[in-house]
């Protein structure tokens, strides 16, 4: 039973919990104790160290900013204004708080605010839906568009939108990169003739891709009045991130073990059988390595693209908060940073698990 549990947690990348489970069963207490120290306590200590450095740094920055404000008040308006400013800052009044790197506790508070905000908006949405249900039914019967909620999206909604966009982009990348990668991997001629294209477009920045997609999609959707920002951002994400998969697929397909190819030749397998029974399965591990890179690149560029394309999601959340300049904007940006990081990490774990699953050599995988 527990061995199965250990297998599962290993598989989903939570292997660090293993010694705890083993210790709770009384297995090799000394060895597992040391293991816990090594792979749980030590990383936790590093987290604490990180928060400590952050706290110290943000305090120092806070003081620098506060002193600057007081001195400025002294220089511009005299001693009285300076004293008032000092009092105001010490009292914690929002109106005169120095605007700088927020401390961990501020970020935590913002995180809670964002969650509260999400709850409030959810309730608001639900109420709105209930209120308009009857009306929408009527409008529907009359052939009119229903009334939809147009209020501000909450932070959690932004996260959902971002994840939706990244997976749409990822899917697009798979649909483009894998078939093309297989085809050019099979032929030396095609590979060398398309190499220039790959080499030139691979390093192009997400911003440029966005503009390119913008040019094309804007023209294509000229006559429809749907919001094209989602389409633009997911296509840009797909185009930016597909290169790793393309290159890896082509490489995987073109470097299939010569022994396998010889076997296929000796057994006189047909071309289709050769591709599906021999070449594709043997290049799957490399294809999935490419897909894993693609997903992490997709998530990384998504934020930048949303930020620029003004399409809803975490990127535009960050940008709006930055433009907003409210007192807790900075800490909300840091919250978003952590959320982006953690989701990116989880996506990578997910891909790693799939990669391990499809890899025929179970010892592979990083």
């Amino acid at each position: 039973m527990s061995d199965k549990l250990i297998k599962i947690i290993r598989f989903i990348g939570l292997g660090f919990l293993e010694p705890i489970i083993r210790l709770s069963r009384g297995e090799e207490p000394r060895k597992n104790g040391i293991l816990i120290l090594k792979i749980i306590i030590a990383p936790l200590a590093s987290v604490l160290l990180f928060i400590g450095v952050w706290q110290t740094g943000s305090t120092a920055l806070f003081n620098k900013e506060a002193n600057y404000r007081i001195e400025k008040a002294l220089k511009d308006q005299g001693q009285k204004a300076a004293d008032e400013m000092k009092l105001c800052i010490d009292s914690g009044d929002i109106s005169c708080q120095p605007n700088t790197l927020p401390s961990p506790s501020q970020v935590n508070a913002s995180f809670k605010t964002l969650l509260k905000d999400h709850k409030a908006i959810s309730i608001d949405k639900k109420n709105f839906k209930e209120k308009t249900a009857a009306l929408n039914k009527q409008r529907n019967a009359e052939g009119k568009d229903p009334i939809v909620y147009t209020g501000r999206p909450s932070f959690v909604d932004q996260i959902k939108t971002s994840i939706k966009t990244v997976f749409a982009g990822f899917l697009l990348a798979i649909l483009i990169a894998v078939p093309i990668g297989v085809i050019i991997g099979l032929s030396d001629t095609l590979r060398s003739s398309f190499n220039w294209l790959i080499q030139i477009f691979k390093p192009v920045s997400p911003v440029v891709w966005l503009l390119l997609v913008f040019m094309i999609v804007k023209t294509l959707t000229k006559d429809s009045d749907t919001d094209s920002s989602f389409i633009i951002s997911f296509i840009s994400v797909g185009l930016c991130s597909m290169w790793a998969t393309l290159v890896n697929t082509a490489m995987g397909v073109s470097t299939v073990d010569k022994d396998f190819i010889n076997v296929a030749k000796v057994l006189k397998l047909g071309p289709l059988q050769k591709v599906f029974k021999v070449i594709l399965p043997s290049s799957l591990p490399l294809i999935f390595t490419g897909l894993r890179i693609t997903l992490s690149v997709a998530w990384m560029v998504l934020i930048a693209i949303e930020l620029l394309a003004q399409s809803p999601g975490l990127g535009s959340f960050v940008w709006e908060e930055f433009q907003n300049g409210a007192n807790d904007s900075n800490s909300k940006i840091i919250v978003a940073m952590f959320v982006i990081g953690i989701i990116g990490f989880l996506l990578d774990r997910l891909m790693l698990a799939i990669q391990k699953f499809v890899s025929f050599n179970k010892n592979e995988g990083i």
Binding site: D259, N262, L267, K268, L269, S282
Partner: protein, 270 residues
């Protein structure tokens, strides 16, 4: 002095007797410094239901010759024919057992064998195909491991699957490229027994490369000795006149065994 009666030089067989015919075979690799001739003027005839082993020093061109017979390596000059028909590329009339097992690691043992069977017996029902595969896997002693992934099998087990895969397509000629070279000597002995047992039943003309003098004698009707390259050709042929079916014990205990062995080692150390 050796009793000369046990040694036979290359002789011409009647055409009806010949399964595999290599005549005036030549292999040249172009290099920047000019052509490198691996094989030249190589003539060899292998009779139906004959088992020949080929020994020679590393790099003398044995594997090149075998992969030419398999159709994996183009012929520079001369010709290779099976039952009088010149070969064109690889084909299922010549089964190959490679040095490394070369199984598809993502497939089960059964699927690996099926891969070739499906192609060779397109009209057989699914059940028939599966029965063929299972029969040969049984023969090589893998009755319990049909559904094990090839990557989960040991090297020796994998090579057993390789043997089953080669026999299951019922080739006219079986080509073995040092199939047991990567195994430890115990496993090698077991696999030689497996191979010779299944071969005794099927009597498929076999050409096998080996580095192991004892293996060469134990398995073969004739041992072909190749000269060292470049321009390697057949140096000598030793006919092994032990009765079949053979057992290792009877072979090793036979009076002629050490004479054969000495002859081969003398050739190799020459």
């Amino acid at each position: 002095m050796m009793p000369t009666k046990i040694f036979k030089k290359q002789e011409k067989f009647a055409p009806a007797e010949v399964m595999l015919d290599l005549h005036d075979l030549k292999k040249v690799y172009p290099t920047p410094k000019g052509d490198y001739v691996v094989l030249e003027h190589l003539d060899l005839q292998v009779k139906k239901e004959e088992f020949v082993t080929i020994i020679g020093h590393s790099g003398c061109g044995k594997t090149t010759m075998l992969s030419m017979i398999a159709g994996l390596n183009p012929i520079s000059d001369g010709g290779i024919s099976v039952l009088g028909t010149s070969i064109k590329g690889p084909g299922p009339d010549r089964g190959v057992i490679f040095q490394s097992p070369s199984l598809m690691p993502w497939m089960t043992a059964l699927e690996n064998v099926k891969l070739g069977v499906r192609k060779v017996f397109p009209h057989a029902t699914k059940k028939q195909k599966e029965d063929i595969c299972k029969y040969y896997l049984n023969k090589v002693g893998l009755d319990g491991s049909f559904n094990k992934k090839a990557s989960e099998l040991s090297q020796g087990m994998q090579q057993r699957v390789g043997i089953a895969r080669a026999f299951a397509i019922k080739p006219k000629v079986l080509l073995l490229d040092e199939p047991f070279g990567m195994l430890d000597s115990l496993t090698r002995g077991e696999l030689q027994d497996v191979l010779i047992e299944i071969w005794n039943k099927e009597k498929i003309t076999a050409v096998m490369i080996t580095h192991d003098v004892d293996e060469a004698i134990f398995l073969a009707d004739r041992v072909i000795m190749m000269t060292s390259g470049p321009s390697a050709k057949i140096g000598d042929i030793l006919s092994i006149d032990f009765e079949r079916p053979r057992t290792r014990k009877a072979v090793i205990g036979h009076d002629d065994y050490y004479k054969y062995r000495k002859y081969l080692i003398d050739f190799l150390e020459h």
